[in-house]
């Protein structure tokens, strides 16, 4: 029993490694790396498509969380552990929660109809344009030459995975200190701006009047016309009025 299981295991192992070799060619990544990559890639792509095709905005936000988690795994695979943590804390923890908060606040958490588009040509054109963007970026990525003349440069960051946070911190607080301080100002401005934007609608000062339609709507159809044409269901009253008009004439 056990030898049979063992041989079965080796065959499976060999099959996976064979497939692996076909996909990656000579530069063979380790099996855990590639399995993690493909699982995370599927999560990212399914999450991205889920954001676009969900009818309910709440479902879109939840698919967005899945996609962001997949991206965080991609960051971890590339030794960017600090960015992976920030990705989950800031994106999943703050931005998506803000999205959900606004969806609930506005009460738009209902499924909407996305079956047909008002502009018929828009959807095929949009997909065509998206495919163009995909093809263009892939072409650019695979045909561009590095300045060193090499076709591509791949390798692990020097110093191993533990050193990465230290390097990032040193870079942020030395070379990139001025942009870092500028982000503090940017965040303050954003918060003040958001408060101002949402407060202004409540307080209407003397100078700012709420929006009014310039002309009130007028029915271009003359009175009684609809009933004469049989367009109104309860036409009795209007018919009486029309008869009176005829009597007067």
């Amino acid at each position: 029993m056990i030898p049979a299981l063992h041989s079965y295991g080796t065959v499976l192992h060999g099959m996976i490694f064979g497939l692996h070799g076909i996909v990656f060619g000579t530069t063979l990544p380790t099996l855990p790396d590639s399995v993690t990559f493909f699982i995370a890639a599927v999560i990212v792509l399914v999450g991205g498509i889920g954001v676009v095709v969900s009818r309910n905005p709440v479902h879109s936000a939840l698919w967005l969380v899945a996609c962001l988690f997949g991206i965080a795994v991609m960051f971890l695979l590339q030794d960017a552990s600090f960015l992976a943590a920030v990705q989950i804390i800031v994106y999943a923890g703050a931005i998506v929660v803000l999205f959900l908060f606004v969806i609930m606040l506005l009460g738009v958490d209902r499924p909407e109809s996305i079956g047909s588009d008002p502009l018929k040509a828009q959807r095929p054109l949009a997909i065509l344009f998206g495919l163009g963007v995909l093809g263009g970026s892939l072409l650019l990525g695979f045909t561009a030459k590095w300045e060193s003349g090499a076709k591509s440069q791949a390798g692990r960051a020097v110093g191993g995975s533990t050193n990465e946070v230290q390097k990032l911190g040193k870079a942020v607080f030395s070379i990139y200190l001025l942009p870092f301080e500028a982000t503090a100002a940017l965040l303050t401005i954003a918060v003040v701006g958001a408060v101002l934007l949402t407060m202004h609608a409540n307080r209407t000062t003397e100078n700012s009047k709420p929006y009014e339609d310039p002309k009130p709507y007028e029915d271009p159809v003359p009175d009684g016309y609809r009933s004469r044409q049989g367009l109104v269901a309860n036409a009795d009253e209007e018919v009486d009025l029309v008869d009176k008009e005829l009597d007067v004439k």
Partner: protein, 101 residues
């Protein structure tokens, strides 16, 4: 060996295209915003990949700044959406034709 960088770049291109199609197809402003987030994340993945491939920490620093700018953008954008919703009573982009000059 770790995963070749071209795989990450291909994935980022796919995610970016999904974001582009989403922003062109959907009419709900909130979902259009989420598609912008998808595109920002695709760009972030590209930056991290190049930071690894070129062994330069500057790419990761740039991702850090993109995260901050994305947070600020979402805060202001959702504020705009809330104040639009108070006036137009919907979050559909088609209903904003009063912005037409």
């Amino acid at each position: 060996m770790s995963i070749p960088g071209s795989w990450y770049l291909t994935l980022a291109a796919l995610l970016f295209s999904i974001g582009v199609v989403g922003i062109l197809v959907r009419r709900n402003v909130l979902i259009m915003f989420m598609c912008i987030e998808l595109m920002l994340n695709a760009a972030n993945l590209t930056l991290v990949t190049y930071a690894r491939m070129l062994n330069d920490i500057g790419g990761q620093v740039l991702v850090f700044f993109v995260l901050v700018v994305a947070a600020a953008e979402v805060v202001v954008g959702l504020g705009v959406i809330v104040s639009i919703f108070r006036r137009a009573k919907s979050t559909t982009a088609d209903d904003l034709h009063i912005l037409k000059g």
